[in-house]
Amino acid sequence: MKKIALIGFIGMLLAFFSVSSAQAAEPIKFGFLHSLSGGVGQVYGIPDQAGAKIAVDEINKAGGVLGRPLEMISRDDKLSPETGVREAKDLILNQKVHWIQGTVSSAVALAVSAYCKGQKVIFVDTVAQSAATTGEKGHRYVFRACTNTTTYTRSVANAAAKYWGGKKVFIIGPDYEYGHRCKTDFMDAYTKLVPDAKVVGELWPKLGNQDWTPYISKIMASDADFVYCSLWGGDVLSFTKAATAFGYFDRVKHCGQDWGNMEALSKMTKQSYDKGALGGSHYPWWIIDNPISNAYYPKFKKVTGMDAGLAAASGYTTVYAMKAAIEKAGSLNTEKMVDALEGMVVNSVVGPVKIRACDHQAMWPFWVGKVVFNDKHPWPYITEAIVLEPPEKGYRTCKEIEAARKATK
């Protein structure tokens, strides 16, 4: 009886498969793989998808790419590498996409990147920041459209040295690889600028932590000159709320790459924001003044109701970059597209960004400034921002990448 049940379900399986195997010939399909549900990741996944969609619509209205419309197929990776690889397989093997872009979790990015390498399909990491994706674990078919942990730790270190220059550093970050790497990279960069700086305390709360009280009290009781904080996403918001109750931002110098990003700041209030912190932003459109950006952020606001941040910029730019690559290559042949992308300069919302040939990393700049909140905007934003010039300064050199790749097993 159970066997009959089994056979029945196999039959159901086959029905599904035969229906779903149909393919379309005309549009150029690409995969969008991101965290579209599940709390933390959504903060980036949803705006990234919206930004990419705006780009697809604009491009299709203007005639498509090589005369064919773009078609974006979205999949949710649920912040799980298992699901990410499963969906990547579906996108590549069943949907026959020409490239995949997305991901916010570095673990998913690394897993999907390894799979795409085997399949020889281009994967563009749009948000996930682990330097290893284009560094130690980089390969011919992976590209990154935005910054990585090296960039912003160097940029924040640069700003901290310039504005504060303290020697005793307190580190707080989320307890996983990203947080620990940020600590190492930040101290590497900072000690180059302030040679006898050292870490006087560290804390590693888990991602999504709700009760910040013992962490904040420990920081405030320390004698550190400033705090480097690699918390991101919703943690920025909840930490700020808890810290304000301690009067933290009036007493502590606080810096971190995600403390100027729109995704979190747009939700803060005048009573509770990271006043005086040195925060970073990937896309400070109130500072940048170029025609692409000036057209994009109001449109993004209009279409989605959200204020554009890192993910919005990255998703939008990536689609245009791929369009440029296909047109330069004159075909959808992956190898030709890779060759076209290497060294290409993309006109993005943050200005011209070069995709470096040796590691496929976009030389995306990163702004770090002081957070203020006044009548100019209905949310806190960074001013007096400094950026590393040229952007290459925020990334490891090609030689360093090569050495790192050799050193990794």
């Binding site: 009886m1 159970k2 089994l6 196999i10 399986l13 195997s21 093997l93 996983y176 097993k409």
Partner: protein, 325 residues
């Protein structure tokens, strides 16, 4: 009801049915696109894990909240061996379930001293410890970066070949499990589930049997983990996460915990549901939750139990009809 003629027919039908199902699985690669074959591969590996869990759950009545911990021990053992040494794939694969079994002896020894909710909570706690070790020990396990690009022998590097490989291993494991379940040992386990006190009275060392069930179950969980590691060519700490444990429990429930092949049916349906639901809506947890509720309230024996009931009912009514003639 004790009609030997009927029984023999029943056995022939069962074996015939099994052979038919096996044939279907064998010829699937001939007409299924590779992308979907990969999904079926995932299903049979999950089926192995769920059947392993069901040895404890359905047969011995031991509810574990932490099967994913032993699954991950299997997966990580294989992954670490393949990553750090030149030991051949086959040996690395076998090392997985063996190390899971060894770990489960220690974990199980502590857990079987407890019952019900305390047993469940302790298994959860141990699984979380495994998760924490794997997550924090970056130097060795690469933490939450995971290990990617694990080497697999060339002949297994295609989806079709790995599918056949998985099918063979899963069938062997299921056959082993079938023998265990139908042995005197298996019968005693079921007696334990039904009535532990009575079983103790007839001289059975309850804890020893439960520990054995735990270890055997963990062996197959580890086997599934190792197999999956080779399939995906990666491992991540969330292989040990309690969400993965719950997935396995739901799969058993879906198919029916009181039937041997129930978890197989459950894993096919679960993965299909997961895939199909996620492509329609971002609210897949809601749909999954409702499905589980519906199963619990209306389909108490899982899908297989439900269908079994219907078939038995119709057979009985047919039988009655014939006798009346």
């Amino acid at each position: 009801m004790m009609d030997p003629e009927l029984d023999r027919n029943h056995t022939i039908k069962t074996i015939g049915g099994l052979v038919a199902v096996l044939l279907v699985f064998l010829i699937l690669p001939l007409f299924l696109p590779v992308g979907w074959l990969s999904l079926v591969n995932e299903m049979i590996i999950l089926a192995l894990a769920a059947c392993g869990l069901n040895l404890m759950l359905g047969y011995a009545g031991m509810v574990s909240f932490g099967p994913a911990g032993l699954y991950a021990v299997g997966a990580y053992t294989t992954a670490l061996i393949l990553y750090y040494t030149e030991i051949p794939f086959g040996l690395a694969l076998i090392a997985g379930p063996v190390s899971a079994a060894i770990a489960s002896v220690i974990i199980g020894w502590f857990c079987v001293r407890l019952t019900h909710v305390y047993f469940a909570l302790l298994t959860l706690a141990f699984a979380q410890i495994i998760h924490t070790i794997v997550f924090e020990w970056y130097g060795f396990t690469k933490g939450d970066d995971g290990i990617v690009g694990i080497r697999v022998p060339a002949f297994l590097d295609s989806i079709t070949n790995y599918y056949y490989f998985s099918l063979i291993i899963v069938c062997i494991c299921l056959a082993l499990m079938w023998m265990i379940v139908n042995s005197p040992f298996g019968k005693i386990l079921q007696a334990l589930r039904e009535n532990p006190e009575r079983t103790k009275f007839i001289g059975i060392h309850v804890r020893l049997y439960q520990l054995s069930a735990f270890v055997i179950s963990s062996f197959f969980l580890g086997a599934a983990g190792s197999l999956f590691c080779g399939f995906n060519k990666n491992v991540f700490p969330n292989y040990a996460h309690w969400m993965k444990s719950t997935e396995m429990l739901v799969v058993c429930l879906l198919g029916g915990v009181y039937s041997f092949l129930g978890p197989v049916v459950g894993s096919i349906i679960y993965i299909l549901l997961d895939k199909v639901i996620s492509s329609f809506t971002q609210y897949w947890p809601l749909v999954l939750g409702l499905v589980v509720l519906a199963l619990l309230l209306f389909l108490k024996g899982g899908i297989v139990g439900f269908i079994s009931e219907k078939i038995t009912a119709s057979r009985e009514s047919r039988g009655k009809g014939e006798r009346n003639v």
